[in-house]
Every structure is written in structure tokens, then in C-alpha cells.
Symmetry: C2
Subunit: 321 residues, 2 copies
């Protein structure tokens, strides 16, 4: 219970160590999370996603500044799935968010996936719980997003920001089917670039064309334009507006049924991740460690068996009935 | 065995139906794949990946034209993970590759993920097997790529093309860590755009800086520049060069130990997908169908339990010992 107490007191070292242990898949860390779980549920969790190069980190940095001016305690979780196009969390905590490094009201962590499938998103859920129990009032979860894994990450949040930049060209045609469903707030970053107005108009007409049911809860996703981040005043004003919208969305969630449905979505994601980590991954770990996978790969190479027959053999060995 | 024979004869309707059944997770379709598996291993499988908007489809179309001029039988598999940024396989087979629609030597299929985790990549492996047994000599697997799922898809191929475009700016810094490991051939598409030469120089110096061990097999990834696809002659010449490089890489694989290690990588991916589909997903399906997941989500909402404790309950129910 010592650990739980320290985390409740906001102890950074204890929290960092626990997050690291969760990332590393240390089994005993689970017992701490079990104890933390009933204490969670106070933070407003904000997901920020968008394509690579959309300037999400700078935006997150700006939002943190705004929230700190309002004396809010803030947690930041930067999630960078190791991928051929991002190369993982290469920047790390050290160079990120240097501005807030001395600020005790801000707790920043980066997660990179180390184990394969699902390990990342699992650590995200637990890291959010830890920050929540630390007393962080707003937790910003930033992820470079295109795949299913990023959607899983975003499903841990109450409010979702989708960050776009001008010059994506015809891509808007391709993306519009998907982002409508997840965005609570659109951000056009680097809006003073060529194509900024065009992107804005496209988003507006996209929202205009959406069925009424899309805004049944009474929230139409606003579009916030953020101009060149090298002009501090203009940038700060836009980010202040954005932060305002984030807070409005939080109020909207609380005032409507929406918070409950977001919490339910979050619980479902966490549950399925926990099942995967408890039921499936230990089997895979065992098969790898004992050399069964290697032996089976050789069977496939020799074509003396096929993947499905081998998988059925595994199922018979590990599953009841 | 009727189905197997028809697929060996290249029957498009039988192959299409089988791919659809695999996508839909029809269990009996597996028995056909089991029979097909020993007949596979003849095709050269080429993966094409890169960020959204890199012009991969046009490139694939050009490569098909080149291969058809050489009388090669070609399969094309366009994989589009449903994602908030791509919106899934929205284009579909109908509008894609119209040019080759009447050509019996080309078989084109798009896959979009319908079930959650891993279902997509599984269908990819089987669709490749089906095209292989149909007698396709080259199978092009195209995916919009950033996440782990796309890496899984790419691991089904022997030769990997990474398509980049100028104007990604500082992104090259972020991507370089990851793409080095997977690219056998780099393509700079739309190379006549601003920044084309800069991107080329960056890639060259990236390759120059790589440790000697990276090219231990004797293959240094070539960089092929493809200019504006609206200038047909220039485009065709570049794509002819690219197709040549693809064939050279194939020869290199066959002449070195590399083909065996690529086949082994492929087998390992297939095996782990088959295990996931056989061991893990049926459990999840059952839990969802019978309402257990919903009931457990309510427990989490009420905070009467936590995700790990619930997952352990599932493990006890389904796993031996």
C-alpha cells in the first residue's frame, strides 16, 4: 500500500518506476494497478492524434502552458508505436517538453512499444490510471495515428482532438470516412500554409454533410485554426481558444449522457487488453521461450504441416475442453 | 479437392469466393487453405508500403503494366487497414486498376479489415497463398503503412519497396530509424517536386551511414526516382527501372541465403497469426456473443472489479492448469 500512497501524493519517482514496470510487463506491477483502479476516474483524458508531421507535440506543449496558467495539474503521455515510419519514441522525455521540466504540476512520460502486439496500448491504460491517481486533472495522450493500435489508444480518452495540416491534398477524401467518427474537435495546424482555407472549407462541408445523428448529443465538432507556431502571439491565442474548446467539451460530456458512454468505451478497451495480456500473451511467451515456435516454423518451411494445423495443436494443448 | 483444382487452374470466381470466406472468418475455408499450403512457394511476393498520399497505387499500376509486357502473371493485393486516416478500402476493386480489368493475367483484390485485431493480416497471408497456387508469378501487396499491423503485412513479402515523396520535411529524421530495416528498394515518387533532390541526398547519406552489417548479404537498397506520373514517358521509364530492380532483388534473394531467411520470417508471421486466430479470437468471440464482456464492462464501470482480476477469471475458465 506504500506505493499506492506515494502515487496518491503525486510522487514522481514512484509513478515513473511503476509505469516502467508496466511497460516491461512485470507481473507484480499488476497488483498495484488493481489497488489503484478503484481510485481512478477523476481526470479528464484528452487524446490528440493526427498524421506524422502535423505538429502535435508543439500543440500539446501549448495546451499544457494554457492549462498551467489555470493552475490545472497536467499529465502528458506521448505514445509512439514503434513503426517503420516513426522509429519509435526517438525523442524521449528528455528533449520533449523541456519548458515544463521544472514544473511540479506537470508529469510527462513517453511510451514506446517494446513487446509486440497490444503491449503498448495496455501500458497506456495503466499509465493513465497512475496519472489519474496522482491527481492530474487533465491527461493529454498524444499519438501519431493511423492504425488500429492508435484507435485503441484514442479509445482511452474522453475528448479526441484530430490534428490536420494543409497540403494533404486529396487525402481528405480518403480520411473523411474515418475521422468523423472519432473527432470531438478538429485542429487545423499550420493553418497559414497554402491550402489552409481549403482544408477548413472541406472540413466544414464534411460536417455539414454528416447525418443529424452524428451530432445527436448536441455537440458539433468545432474546427480550431492554429497559425504558424513561430509567431508566438497568434499561436498562443489559437491554443487558448483550443483549450477553451477542450474544456467546453468536458462540460458537455458531464452534462450529457456522453461521459458514461465514453467511460464504457474506455472500460471495454481496457478489459480486452487485459484479457489479451493474461490469456494470449503468456501462451505466446511460453511457446517462444521453450522453442516451440522455432520448431514449428521449420515444419512450415519443410511444408510438413500448415499454420492452421499447428495452431490447432497449440489450442488443444492450452485450452480447456 | 474440387476447389483446390479450380484455384490451380486460376479460376477467378473460386479464388475470389475463397478470399471472401477467409475475410469473413468462415471456419471451413481453413480446410481448403490447409490443402493449398503444400502447393505454395512459387511466387515472388513484393510488398509496397509508404505514407498516405505517396502515390503507391499508381506505382503498382505501372509495375503491373511492366510485368505484363514481360508476360508475367500478376496478383495484386491492396490492403487497407480500416483506420481513422484512411477510412478503409474505400476505393475497392471496381475503380482500382481498371486498365487491367480485362486482362486475364492480372488478379486484383482489396482487403479491408472487418474484425478487430489481427484479422486483416491473417487474410493477407491466405490471399497470397491463393494467388500463389493460382500461378501468379509476382504478387504485389500494397499497404498504407505506419503501424505494427502494416509491418506484419510487409513481413509476408520477399522484397519490400518503401515509397517516399518529397516535402515530408523533417519527417525523414523521424522515419529513418525504422525504414532502414525493412526497405529493399527505396522509391522517391513525385521526385520532380520541390525537395526531390534533397530527399535523394538524405537517403544516400542514410545508406552511407548504415553499418556494413546492414548490407552483409551484398545488397545495398537502390533508390529509384519516379517523376511526375502525368508525363507518361518519363513515368514509364522510371517504373521500368524500378521493375528491373525488383527482379534483380529477386535474383539476389535466390542466389543468396536471403530467400530462406525471408521465407522463415514469413512462416513465423503466419504461424503467430494462425495461433491468434485459433486460440485467442474464439475466446473473445464467445465472451462477446454470450454477453460476458458487457457484464464485465458494467463491473468496471461500478468499480467492483478491475481489468486484471476480470482477465484472470477468464484465464481460469478457458486455460488448462
Amino acid at each position: 500500500m506504500e506505493t499506492v500512497k506515494k502515487i496518491q501524493e503525486g510522487d514522481v519517482r514512484t509513478a515513473s518506476r511503476l509505469i516502467r514496470r508496466i511497460e516491461d510487463g512485470v507481473l507484480e506491477a499488476r497488483s498495484t494497478i488493481k489497488k489503484l483502479f478503484p481510485l481512478t476516474g477523476n481526470a479528464h483524458i484528452v487524446g490528440i492524434t493526427g498524421p506524422p508531421g502535423a505538429g502535435k507535440s508543439t500543440l500539446v506543449d501549448g495546451i499544457v502552458t494554457q492549462l498551467r496558467q489555470k493552475q490545472k495539474k497536467v499529465g502528458v503521455l506521448a505514445v509512439d508505436p514503434t513503426s517503420p515510419f516513426t522509429g519509435g519514441a526517438i525523442l524521449g522525455d528528455r528533449v520533449r517538453m523541456q519548458k515544463h521540466a521544472e514544473d511540479e504540476g506537470v508529469f510527462v512520460r513517453s511510451l514506446a512499444t517494446r513487446c509486440a502486439l497490444g503491449g503498448l496500448a495496455k501500458a497506456v491504460g495503466d499509465a493513465i490510471h497512475i496519472m489519474d491517481v496522482m491527481g492530474k486533472e487533465v491527461i493529454l495522450v498524444e499519438t501519431v495515428g493511423t492504425g488500429q493500435q492508435e484507435v485503441d489508444i484514442i479509445n482511452h480518452s474522453h475528448t479526441v482532438l484530430v490534428v490536420l495540416i494543409p497540403g494533404m491534398g486529396d487525402e481528405i477524401q480518403a480520411i473523411k470516412a474515418g475521422i468523423m467518427e472519432i473527432a470531438d474537435i478538429f485542429v487545423i495546424n499550420k493553418a497559414d500554409r497554402d491550402g489552409g482555407s481549403k482544408l477548413y472549407r472541406e472540413l466544414v462541408s464534411l460536417l455539414d454533410m454528416a447525418p443529424a445523428s452524428a451530432f445527436a448529443s448536441g455537440w458539433r465538432p468545432p474546427i480550431v485554426k492554429v497559425e504558424n507556431s513561430f509567431v508566438p502571439e497568434s499561436f498562443n491565442n489559437s491554443v487558448a481558444e483550443l483549450t477553451q474548446k477542450i474544456e467546453e467539451h468536458h462540460q458537455h460530456l458531464l452534462a450529457s449522457e456522453l461521459m458514461v458512454s465514453r467511460e464504457r468505451r474506455k472500460a471495454a478497451v481496457e478489459l480486452s487488453e487485459a484479457i489479451r495480456n493474461t490469456v494470449y500473451e503468456p501462451i505466446m511467451d511460453k511457446l517462444i521461450t521453450e522453442g516451440t515456435i522455432d520448431a514449428m516454423v521449420e515444419e512450415l518451411m519443410a511444408k510438413t504441416s500448415d499454420p492452421y494445423s499447428l495452431a490447432e495443436r497449440i489450442a488443444q494443448r492450452f485450452l480447456k475442453s
